[in-house]
Amino acid sequence: MTSIERDRVIISSPAPTYEIEIEAPSPRMIMRRRALTHPGFLFGATVVLATVIIALCAPLLTPYDPYAQDLSQRLIPPVLAAKGSWAHLLGTDAMGRDYLTRLMYGARISLTIGFGAAALAGIIGTSLGLIGGYFGGWVDSVVMYCVNVKLALPGILVALSLIEVFGGSVFSVTLILGVLFWDRFIVVTRSVTQQTRVADYVTAAEAVGASRFRIILGEVLPNVLNHIIVIASLEMAVAILVEAALSFLGLGIRPPTPSWGLMISEGRNFMFFQPYLVAVPGIAILVLVVAINMLGDGIRDITAPEGRN
């Protein structure tokens, strides 16, 4: 059982025959090969995977409790600085909590909200995009109208208002962000759906009498899946950045939960003398977001490089 298809071309003529064998690798093999040689994808995947593992195994990786305050140990700089110690690799914050530990637990917040918001936005956006792209006409106009309304609204201000009204917990923040970021999903899904819709195999399915629901799920969705994954990763990165900003402003995750944005906000008061309090969580956000973006770009390159040169 091999995943390689072999084509054989035989030229027949009065003269001796020549056999040419052409190996055509399956699409999966092509993608795997591309994936393993794409530096952006590898970097992104490694970092994201590492972050997920750290977030999941945080209790195993660190002896400290992210919420345990110890005022005798406050504001110790990271190990490489003058007054640092190996007991606290990244130092402690103003409440004496180990920074590295809080960073690790903070990864949970970022990943959960990022993933959750992207998933929710993806479901909403993809559904609307499929419907609008497939049915066209006034249905499509309504979908585009929704997109235009969403785009006109100032996202941050709306998010801030909603959090003020509904409170800031991981759940509510995820929900609110998910409800605010579906526009890119719609645009891409709609356009791919429109293109797929006029493809012959869809017309064939319609002719046979397949229900529209089945056609959308069975024929159109698989085509769109690649694009959705790419957009989802990009939106996840955006969600993480926005959550950090909201928490920084104080209208996001509430203390003492270790959200990275919140850590930066808490460190702000001390930033002139203990800049690491601000620098460290920011770098964590930067690295994770860049990794997710590169992962998304990498997936796009691997699954559909025809779009690029």
Binding site: P154, S161, F248, L286
Partner: protein, 305 residues
Amino acid sequence: MSRFLIHRALIALLVAITVSIIGFTLLRLSGDLASALAGDTATQEQIAQTAHLYGLDRPLSIQYFDWVWKALHGDLGRSLFTNEPVTYLIGQRIGVTAQLSVMALTFALLIAIPLGVVAATRPNSWIDRFSLGLAVLGQGMPNFWFGLILIIVFGVSLRWLPISGTDHFSNFIMPTITLGTSVMPAIMRLTRTGMLDALDSDYIRTARAKGLSTRSVLFKHALRNAILPVVSLTAVSLGFLLGGSVIVESVFALNGIGFLAFQSILRTDFPVVQSIVVFVSFCYILLTLVSDMINAYLDPRIRLG
């Protein structure tokens, strides 16, 4: 083309109305705005008094139309906190936000477009990789954090720039850089992609076949085509900057409408919040309309049908 524009204008109007409704209802979604305003310890009677005082006991639709009617006459209500007219408050602060946004956008364009063009003419060179790396960094960095880092480095350690206030031009340098780096990557990427596509096209091949100079091929022929989507993105980015300035204004203590909106949200100062949300949205809608018009003008295929 005018049919096309009228069509767009009508849609814009519809969107504007919807946005006004949404902006209006934002802070009321908790169900009871009056209790929020009256405070945690208020009695039922006090809550009812509060509700009556701000007209919150009337049906929602009445409140909405009343607000719209007054707004069309230039009255956006008064801030619950300072009792000043909202129009006055916005007018006082819009200058800062507008100045910041325009400066940030200009900064972004001055970097993004040249970089995008050069990167496209030398694909896979060091400058191409550098520009892409810059874009990745710009898109990945939380801009409030970047602002803080700038403050630490340039405001404190090096003491080159002032870290707060709005009286002097130099106050705007770090906020401009911070805000500019958030919109720069998308513009650069779009310019680069647009130029790559243009340079790969048949009409550029024709231009070269005619023996035109490199400068003419690049700027007269390629860029002119590549720039069309960038114009749209620029207009949209300006709208985005106006709405998203709250973070940078907070970091640098700038008194713009973003910061005002933020404070008002915290204080449940609903007249201010709903007005700012709607105002920013309207600016965005207007900007997209303007960008459609510019696009239609720049692209003869749209202009002449």
